[in-house]
Amino acid sequence: MTVQVVLAAILFLLMVLVGGKKGVRSFFTLFLNFLVFLITMILMTIPIVNPIIVALIACTAICSMNLFYINGVNMKTKTAFISSMITIVILISFIVFITSKAKVQGFGEEVIEEISVFSLHVGVDFVKVGAAMVILTAIGSITDIAISIVSPMQELFHHQPSTSRKELVRFGLSIGRDVLGADTNTLFFAFLGSYLALILWFKDLTYSFGEIVNSKVFSAEMISILSAGAGVGLIIPITAWTAAYYLVKK
C-alpha cells in the first residue's frame, strides 16, 4: 500500500467520524476537485485551446461543486458564486498583465538541467498557463471567503429586514476583515510548504539578495502568492456589494 492510499483512508475515516454524512460529501468533493484538475490539465496540453478559458471553466466547475453541491442551490450560494466569478475575472487580467511583463512564465534556470531530456517547444502558451495556475490556486480560498460573508449577511437581513444596503455592506466588510487574516495565513503557509526546498536551495548556494529577487522561480512564486492574496482581499468588498445589492433589491 502506498503512503497516499493509507493517508487517504485515514482522512476519509476522520471526515466520516467528525462530519458523518457531510464528511462523506466533503471527501467526495475533494476527489471531484482532483478530477476537474486532471481534465483541466489535459485540456491545457492542446495548443489551440486557450488555457485561460479552460481555467475559467474549471473555476466555474470547482465553485459550483464547493458551493452548490455542499450547501445547495439558494440565494446565498448563488451570490457567492457570482462574486467569486467577478473576482476571478479581475484577478486573471492582473495576473496575465504582470506575468507577461515580468516574464516569469515556464521554467527557471534552476530546473533546466532536470528537464533537459524534454523538448521545450511544445506549442502551449506558458504565460497563459501560468496565469491559469495562479487562478486555480486562489479559487479555493476565494469561494471560502465568499460563502462565509454571504451567510451572516443573509442572517442579519432575515432578522432585521429594515437594514439598509449601506449597513449591510458595512456588516459584510466587517465579517470579511475577520476572516481575511486566517485565509492569507492558510495560503502563506501552504506556499511555504511547497517551496521550502527552494528557499534552502537559495541559502545553500548563497544567492545574493539581488539574484534571488530577480530569479525567475522566486519572482514567479512571489507573484503567485501575492496575486492569490490580493484575490482573497478583493473578494471581500465584491461579495459585500453583490450580496447587499441582491438582498435589498428584493
Binding site: 476537485n33 490539465m41 516574464k103 523538448s119 501552504a190 510548504g193 521550502l196 534552502l200
Partner: protein, 369 residues
Amino acid sequence: MLSRSIYFYVIMAFLFVVSVVFVNHNDAFYDRPIAEVTKVKQEDKTEVTDQHHNTDELFTQQITAKLKNGEAKGETIHLQNEYSASGAYDQAYQPGNDLFVSLDTDKGKNATLTGKIIDVKRDKYVLVAAWVFVAILLIVGKRQGLFSIIALAINAMILSYALDIYVKNSDISLLFLCSISVVLFTAISLLFLHGLNEKTYAAIVATLLGTFLSLLIASVVIWATSESGLRYEEMQFLTRPYQVIFIASLFLGSLGGVMDIAITMTSSIFGLYEKNNAISKKALQTSGMEIGKDIMGTITNILLLVYISGSIPMLILYLNNGSALTFSLTMNLSLEVARALAGGIGIVLSIPVSLYTSIFFINRKRAKS
C-alpha cells in the same frame, strides 16, 4: 481618529513612490551589467516540429540596448535573442525591458559592444505585485489587514532566520528548528490577529496539538509503508536530504489551515459561552461539531488546490513529450497529494482538538468564578 488614518495613508503613499523610484534606478547597486532595450528588430521566423509532433514557432530578435551601470554605462550594446511562441524557457523582448547581460571582451568590427542576455531584471514587477497586495489588504482590511501583513512579514523573517541557522549548523535538526518556528508562527499569527485573550490561548494550544498530531500520523504512515508511492526523484531544488525536507514541508504546509480551523472553532465556542454562561458541555459539543463539519471540506480543498496547481507547467511538459498520463501524475503529484492528504488529516483532527481545548479552558474559567 480620522486625521491619524490620513497620516497613515500619506506615509504609505510616500513609501510607495520612494520604493518605485528606487527600484527603477537601482542599477548601480547591481554588480552584474544591466542594459535597457531600446530597439528590437525581428529577424526570422521558423516553424519547428519536434519528435512528438508538437509544432511551435521560433523567432530571432536583434536587440539594441543601452548599458545602465558599470564602466561602460551609457554605451550601446548589441544582443541577440532567440525565443519560441510558447515561451517555456525564453521570451520576446520589447523596448523598455531591463536585462542582465554579459559583455563580450573583444568588440566587433564596428567597434560596438556585443554580449549575451543572461536574465530579466524582475525586481520592479515583484515590487508592484507586493504593493497591490498590501494596498488591497490595507484598504479592505484596515487594522486587521495591517496586522495580517505585519504577522506575515515577521513569520517570513523568522523562517529565514531559522533556515540560516540550519544551513550554518548542520548538526541541528531541521525538524527541531521547524518545531520551534511552528510554535512562534502560531503564537505570533494568532496573537496579532485576535489579541491577548482566552480564546486565542485555546486556539494556540489547539493548533499546536493538531499540527503535531498530524505530523505524527504522517510520519508513522510513511514509516509503516516504507515510503512506497513517494517519488522523491522529481522533487526540485534539492541541496539537502530529501526526506527531512519533505517532512518539514508537511509540517509547515498545513499550519495555516489548522490555525484557521482552530481560531474559527474557539471563537464560536467562546461566543456561545459568553452569550449564555450556563450552557451545558453537551450543547457546546454539538454546536462545535456542527461548525467544524461546515468548514473542514473547504479548507482541505484550499490546500489540495494550492499544492497540485503548482505542478501544471511540468505536467504539460511531460504529457506533450509523450509521457504516459499515470507516469506523469505519479512523478509530479505523488508528494503534493501526500502533503495535501496529511494537511487534511491535520485539519479534520483539529476540529475535535479545538473543541475539547475550548471546553477545557471554559471549565477552568467556570471553576475560577
